[in-house]
């Protein structure tokens, strides 16, 4: 069987056929390969049983701070004999010169039998007994000097051990080196004859990013699919709406706080034209006068706003088509005049579905809701009563989130108030439900900051996996 070798492998084998045993560093140097290529090459050869890797530990020595000082100025005991070389010196005078090294100097000099200590009236006095030659320890110090040397280069192990006992004289450093030799099989390989078709299949390659849909769009599409699968047909409407369809048609009184500029975006200097039929306008105005007891203003109804919900699309659809039986939904951007923060956007997506039919009930609304959440993978849900200005009765869904370990509020729902439907001649119950999509997407992508969806941060867009 012919051998397929990568150029890196060939280089290393060739080298070892002449040099027998080399360390990783030596291979890098001699084969002119990068450290990474060498490491990989060694690993491949080992796996193919073409090379034997042996790991050896080597200990290197360098002098510590005290060792370097002693090499320069002499060991403490050498300093001592130099001080007493010409004449005996009193103990106290020596201490002043040798300071911390006094005790060790006296101890070693006495042990080596270099000095004698005599006592007189004024204290002890030290005199030289014999002038010593260079000691074994001094020889080792000199041998190491400023260099880093292998421990096994030192022959006088006794002197080395004794130096090691002195604090901060010798620093040991252990280096593990891999060295490589060829297996019997590899020794006889004819490198030049081996195939060289192999490439470095394990090397890193340049990163490329697949173009894809926006993660929020994926959630929007998922929700749209769910609505369609539940039998709903999509309808659409404008993002800019006269106050009439956004508020008045939904029985929101003209002095309601939600209609103030603090909450709703009004478009400067724009009034709607031909936005509804005269009879629609008349019946809505009558419903307001009767229900809210105030004088309804046509101008307020004409003011153009950025829609605050998709419900304006729904009610306009109902008013224009007067279906007796239908399931429709609308999905799109809605706007609120809010300060942008990690949990609030001025513009976000909302979805809303309605069912109109003869005998549809609040329990049906709860049922369709349950189906919707089930398809989203949310099975632990409950319903609480709540208040919405244009539905009665009204409920909200609470969904249990495993990750956060708490119940969170999701979609709202209810049956359109008669004050909303009657002016448009709709007599059958209209079940309505919906809510914000970003909230669901945040749960899906585990985001804490809703702004991320609109930052278009490429590293986020590129790294967020399509499957969640």
């Amino acid at each position: 069987m012919s051998l397929v070798l990568h150029p890196i492998e060939k280089t290393i084998i060739k080298l070892l056929q002449s040099e027998k045993n080399l360390t990783e560093l030596q291979i890098i140097e001699k084969a002119k390969l990068s450290a990474d290529q060498t490491r990989r090459g060694i690993e491949w050869l080992r796996l193919k049983n073409l090379a034997i890797v042996t790991e050896t530990e080597q200990i290197f020595l360098t002098l510590g701070k005290n060792g370097l000082d002693a090499q320069k100025d002499g060991l403490p005991e050498r300093k001592l004999v130099n001080l007493v070389a010409d004449a005996p010196v009193p103990f106290d005078d020596l201490r002043k010169k040798l300071l911390d090294e006094m005790n060790i100097a006296i101890a070693n000099a006495k042990k080596n039998d270099w000095i004698t200590i005599a006592k007189n009236d004024s204290g002890s006095i030290v005199s030289l007994k014999k002038k010593p030659d260079q000691t074994d320890e001094e020889k080792v110090l000199a041998q190491i000097g400023q260099n880093k040397i292998l421990q096994n280069q030192i022959k006088d192990l006794a002197a080395l051990e004794s130096l090691k006992k002195r604090p901060d004289y010798i620093i040991l450093e252990s280096v593990k080196t891999k060295s490589l030799s060829l297996s019997e099989q590899a020794k006889s390989v004819d490198v030049d004859a081996a195939d060289s078709g192999a490439i470095d299949v394990e090397a890193d390659v340049p990163l490329i990013y697949a173009a894809k849909t926006h993660p929020l769009k994926d959630t929007i599409n998922e929700i749209r699919e769910i609505f369609v699968s539940l039998g709903f047909t999509e309808i659409a409407g404008n993002l800019t709406q006269p106050g009439f369809w956004n508020f008045d048609a939904l029985f929101t009184p003209q002095d309601h706080p939600a209609r103030e500029m603090q909450d709703t975006f009004y478009i400067k200097d724009k009034l709607a034209k031909d936005f509804a039929t005269q009879s629609q306008i008349n019946s809505v105005s009558t419903s307001h006068k009767k229900g809210w007891k105030y004088s309804w203003s046509l101008v307020a109804a004409k003011k153009m706003v950025l829609r605050t919900h998709t419900t304006c699309v729904t009610i306009k659809y109902l008013a224009e088509n007067k279906p007796s039986e239908a399931r429709v939904f609308s999905l799109g951007r809605v706007f609120r005049n809010e300060k942008v923060s990690y949990k609030h956007l001025v513009e976000f997506n909302q979805v809303e579905g309605i069912i109109i039919g003869k005998n549809v009930s609040l329990r049906d609304l709860m049922g369709i809701q349950t189906q919707f959440y089930k398809k989203l993978g949310l099975t632990k849900i409950k319903f609480w009563p709540t208040f919405f200005p244009y539905t009665e009765p009204s409920l909200q869904t609470m969904v249990y989130n495993e990750k956060l370990d708490k119940w969170i509020e999701l979609f709202g729902m209810g049956i359109f108030r008669p004050e909303v439907t009657k002016p448009f001649g709709i007599t059958r119950p209209v079940l309505a439900w919906g809510g914000g999509i970003e909230r669901i997407a945040m749960l899906k992508y585990g985001l804490n900051d809703v702004r991320e969806f609109y930052n278009n941060n490429l590293s986020w867009l590129r790294s967020t996996p399509k499957c969640q």
Binding site: V228, T233, E325, F335, D364, L458
Partner: protein, 545 residues
Amino acid sequence: MPVVTLYISRLQKLVGKASKDKIIDALPFLGLDIEEQTDQYIRVEYSPNRPDYATDVGIAMGLQGLLGIKKGIAKLAIKKQKDANYSIKTDPAVRKIRPYVLGLVAKGGKLDDEIIRQLIALQEDLHFGVGRKRKKASIGIHNLDSIKLPLSYIAKPKNHKFVPLTKDKEMSVSEILDTMDVGKDYSAILGTGSMVPMILDSQKNTISFPPIINSALTTVTTTNTNLLVEVTGNEPSTVSDILSVMASALQGLGFTLYDIKTDKKSSADSLKTRTILLDPSMVNQTLGLNLSSVQICNMLRKCRLDATIKSKKIHCTIPSYRFDIFGPMDLVEEVALGYGIQNLSPTLPSSVSVGQKSKTTLRLDQIGQIMIGLGFTEALNSSLTSKQVLYDNTKRDASKLIEVAESKSQEHTVLRDSILPGMLENLSKNIHEQYPQKLFETGMIFSANSPIKESISLACVSAHKDSGYTEIKSILQSLLKTNSKIECKTKTAENPMFAKGKTADVIVGDKKIGVIGEVNSEVIENFKIRVPVSGFELVLSDFVL
């Protein structure tokens, strides 16, 4: 949504015979959202249409019903006073400024700091919500013992002086309106006339300057046991609605209520119950249940309403403070609450229907797929953006900009008439990311046209060191051909956003449907982008949607 703090031990005493856990579990089923919960207190959010839930006595009353401790209406007992001094006389001049007034005396109650705190919170919530920031109606609560009845409600000039609440020296009306915060906040309600409304007692002492501030003379403290409540306003039904909530709360707190006569109606006349007829079949159909009339009556009574059956119809009696109830459908919701939402099991509607996406959605999905196939990643930007991004940085014509009023966010003030500028902004925020960067977006653009025209647009940008006109035109042609076999032409044009000689109009048939080009180096500089950018934008609504 307004929030109320409930001290658990107080609430438990008010509800009676119910464990702490039972009470807490029942709160959401009154429509109250728990915001915060500690061992001592719970903070709940309530709907502005139920101001009776602004105090713990109101909530306790609701809980008693749901938990079956007390059912039916807690009747308002307003004693008629024979004493003719229990009256407010209205001066015809004040009718032009703030025409309506009602009042009530509440005696023999006990006040502590917590009760005063709740009364003030209730007053503030009523002012803000039902009272529409005091415009429709506002409330004054006074220490009755510092007042000599009867009262007169009159118009006074702006040099009228009295010591306002929280101050210790006399101030003129003008000074109050100009220097005090409440004066500045609410003076607009009084209009521009020279006279303002004022309530004086029989000794000519100023009691209240509605809707701005009370007099210091009648300051309520914990030692007081007798109170006077007055409500003034522009809307008679709101005035009596607000008085009814106050009356119900004070009675719940243990006060005995006494009527005060006004020229038109006495307060007792204004706070009467009303009756709404309810068809049991409507209840059952709406809720999807099969309840007997007796059961329905019982559920209404659990919601603190009264109900009786007369010739197959349910006669439901509603206390005056439940002005959130408009008609029978509101009573259906009450029945649902009385039944317990947790007891309603979901069903599925019997009708069958086949759903489908809109044509626009389908088309946009197809176009998006091709853009992705061409290597472009989808971006999403707000349609509400800034003049800086849309016009200043791109040198585009801003003469027809569509602006929103009073935006709270500087980056969101103008509706986009083009998607491309936002995409350049995206590139400028990604200069440290790997190139090439290729983005596309589809979305709504807006133009001024009686009053506003909305169109769906597609834009894309390609940013890298070799980006140029040829590349982007290839993308454009490939997109149109692959998507719908459309051949387009590019006709030399000028566009301030693009480099001279490197931009064109995109023409399909004889119609301009978009622009294409290499982005002008000055524009690239304005967005602090460091590589060449080319791109195009097509108004899809004009030719494929």
